[in-house]
């Protein structure tokens, strides 16, 4: 076999396999959407689930997922950006810093189930927060922090050093320089990274099984006082998210239409994650354009 033939065959194989991957992926997406889309309706998206009857929805779960996302981001973003700033701007190169870097790396590779178990042990039981949105948000924070730190570091590193020098040379303090000069420039990267991280939070289930619980008490959507028990905003109530709901309906569902609900909820989840991805891209492009198009 000549080298030319080998080249042709190899090229063919590579194209074939790539096509196969693309097909499999599209098939996967198509399967989820095809099976689920038919079940999605306004009623499905807004009504509470039924335990044993047909026609349950995913309203509270969808709300829980979004609310949990917001809670998590409220905790993660200041912490993650702070830690990222420390790593990129304050940490002096040396043994300690590289040790911290290792720690962050280890944390980021921890399986989510370990994070969930830790949450169960410490947040749920030791801190006595119970199975609650807050516990879930804290567990997800642990899960998400390393990513946030890395994104912030990446963002800050993309800022030209001349920007920082220019600000410092005006007699501006380092902290003010970070806040007013460096962070705004890093913002597109930090934002689109955060949105991708948000997508990850949205789909996470293993860490939440043990922390946010699998129950969704009926919510009173007319009561927005976070201190009330039935209020959707109460962070101390147990909350089942969409991803956990899929897991539960799949495995424990008593309702006769459990499979359809799981399919519908999966489709909703995928679409949401898709929106997050597209949102991150669009935002990144928009902000990039805003800064450079004026040139």
């Amino acid at each position: 076999m000549s080298a030319k033939t080998a080249d042709k065959i190899a090229t063919g194989v590579i194209v074939f396999i790539t096509g196969l991957i693309a097909l499999a992926l599209l098939g996967l997406l198509g399967y989820i959407l095809f099976r689920g889309l038919g079940h999605i309706s306004w009623h499905f998206l807004t009504s509470p689930p039924e335990t044993i009857r047909k026609g349950g929805g995913i309203g509270p779960q969808l709300f829980n997922s979004l609310f949990l996302l917001v809670l998590t981001m409220i905790i993660t973003v200041p912490l993650g950006i702070g830690a990222g700033i420390y790593m990129s701007e304050y940490a002096k190169a040396g043994k300690i810093t590289s040790a911290i870097r290792l720690v962050v790396e280890v944390l980021s590779s921890f399986p989510s189930i370990i994070v969930g178990l830790f949450g169960l042990l410490v947040i749920v039981n030791k801190f006595n927060l119970g199975f609650s949105l807050l516990s879930g948000a804290l567990a997800l924070t642990i899960f998400n922090l390393p990513l946030m730190v890395r994104i912030t570091e990446q963002g800050l590193r993309s800022v030209p050093v001349q920007q920082k020098e220019a600000s410092l040379a005006l007699g501006i303090s380092k902290w003010k320089t970070i806040r007013s000069v460096q962070l705004p420039i890093a913002l597109p990267i930090v934002l689109s990274g955060s949105i991708l991280a948000a997508g990850r939070i949205f789909g996470e289930a293993a860490a939440l099984l043990f922390t946010a619980g699998m129950s969704s008490p009926r919510l009173d959507f007319s009561d927005w006082n976070p201190l009330h028990n039935d209020s959707p905003l109460n962070p101390l109530r147990p909350a089942e998210t969409l991803a956990v709901h899929i897991w539960k309906v799949n495995s424990e569902g008593l309702a006769p239409d459990a499979t359809q609900i799981a399919a519908g909820a999966s489709a909703v989840l995928i679409i949401t994650v898709l929106l997050f991805n597209l949102g991150a891209r669009a935002l990144g492009r928009y902000m990039h354009n805003r800064f450079t198009a004026s040139k």
Partner: protein, 300 residues
């Protein structure tokens, strides 16, 4: 002297610098404390099986029988360890060549289709939640395997196929980055000598990027190793080392999710599950160090 004058200017920004330093330091401290307490709590729980309940470490690591409520209870976790390793490594064996082909396609063959089509699709694949993978695995792969092969469809084969899909984005992305960052001269030199594209890829590109490729593969294995729900839904969960790829078996993660809620904290049954979690955590360390080592080699 103008000292006093200086201080007037100085004070507010000094306080401000202090705020920034302290704030960011607290953030990083929180992170460090979190991870150390995680290691501490998981380790102390996991070790109490041996210390409090007197289970032999060797029995746990090499025992073949998992009978937590038997008489006497037996905690042989080897089937789980075997299950975790076999599914995640097999997943990598499936995903690595696929990821490499996709990367070659995207970088060498058709960057345009790669960028506008493959890249977004693969990123999207990374975003699909693991419960959805499990759901699809249970409703598509398991019945398919049940029809095609002897057995019930569940098992290592189904588990590793689902995992292969899940880690494909990681492997592909890293492989793509590695290929794209290759110095241009390297390939051109090879082409100039009359080598075909395949010869260049096979003789030059693959060896040069091998450490990077390996990093991607190890990252993929690490992710597969820790994945819980998707695997648990398709693996079958029998606590035995299976006789075939299509026979029900367990992984560390599936054993934990299956029984954690059913056992009371502090009981030996529960502690044994924490020991599994400890093994999982130690493996995470191992993976991190392997990746570090590989990245160290990449720089050379």
């Amino acid at each position: 002297m103008k000292k006093s004058n200086d201080r007037e200017v100085a004070t507010p920004h000094l306080a401000e610098e202090w705020v920034g330093k302290v704030y960011t330091f607290i953030c990083i401290l929180f992170l460090i404390i979190t991870i150390f307490s995680m290691v501490y709590f998981v380790a102390s729980k996991g070790l109490s099986t041996f210390i409090v309940n007197g289970v032999n470490v060797k029995d746990l690591l090499t025992g073949l029988k998992w009978k937590p409520d038997g008489e006497p209870p037996m905690f042989g976790a080897l089937p789980f360890i075997f299950g975790s390793f076999s599914t995640s490594i097999l997943a990598a064996i499936i995903a690595a060549p696929l990821g490499f082909c996709a990367a070659v396609f995207m970088v060498e063959l058709s960057p345009k289709i790669g960028r506008t089509f493959m890249q977004p699709v693969i990123e999207l694949l990374a975003g699909i939640p693991s419960v959805v993978y499990g759901f699809v695995g249970l409703s598509v792969i398991v019945p398919l395997f049940r029809d095609l092969f002897p057995g019930q469809g569940v098992g290592i084969a189904a588990g590793s196929l689902v995992l292969a899909f899940m880690i494909l984005p990681t492997i592909t992305t890293i492989a793509t980055d590695a290929l794209a960052s290759l110095p241009a001269g390297l390939k051109e030199g090879s082409y100039a000598l009359g080598a075909t594209r395949w010869q260049t890829i096979y003789r030059i590109v693959l060896p040069t990027t091998l450490p990077a490729q390996m990093t991607g593969i190890v990252l993929g294995i690490a992710r597969a190793f820790g994945e819980a729900l998707a695997v648990q839904m398709v693996i079958g969960n029998a606590p035995h080392i299976p006789n075939s790829l299509f026979e029900s078996t367990s992984t560390l993660t599936s054993a934990i999710t299956l029984s954690m809620g059913n056992t009371a904290m502090g009981s030996v049954q529960n502690n044994a599950l924490w020991s599994l979690a400890l093994i999982l955590m130690l493996m995470t360390f191992v993976f991190v160090f392997i990746i570090r080592w590989l990245e160290g080699r990449k720089k050379l």
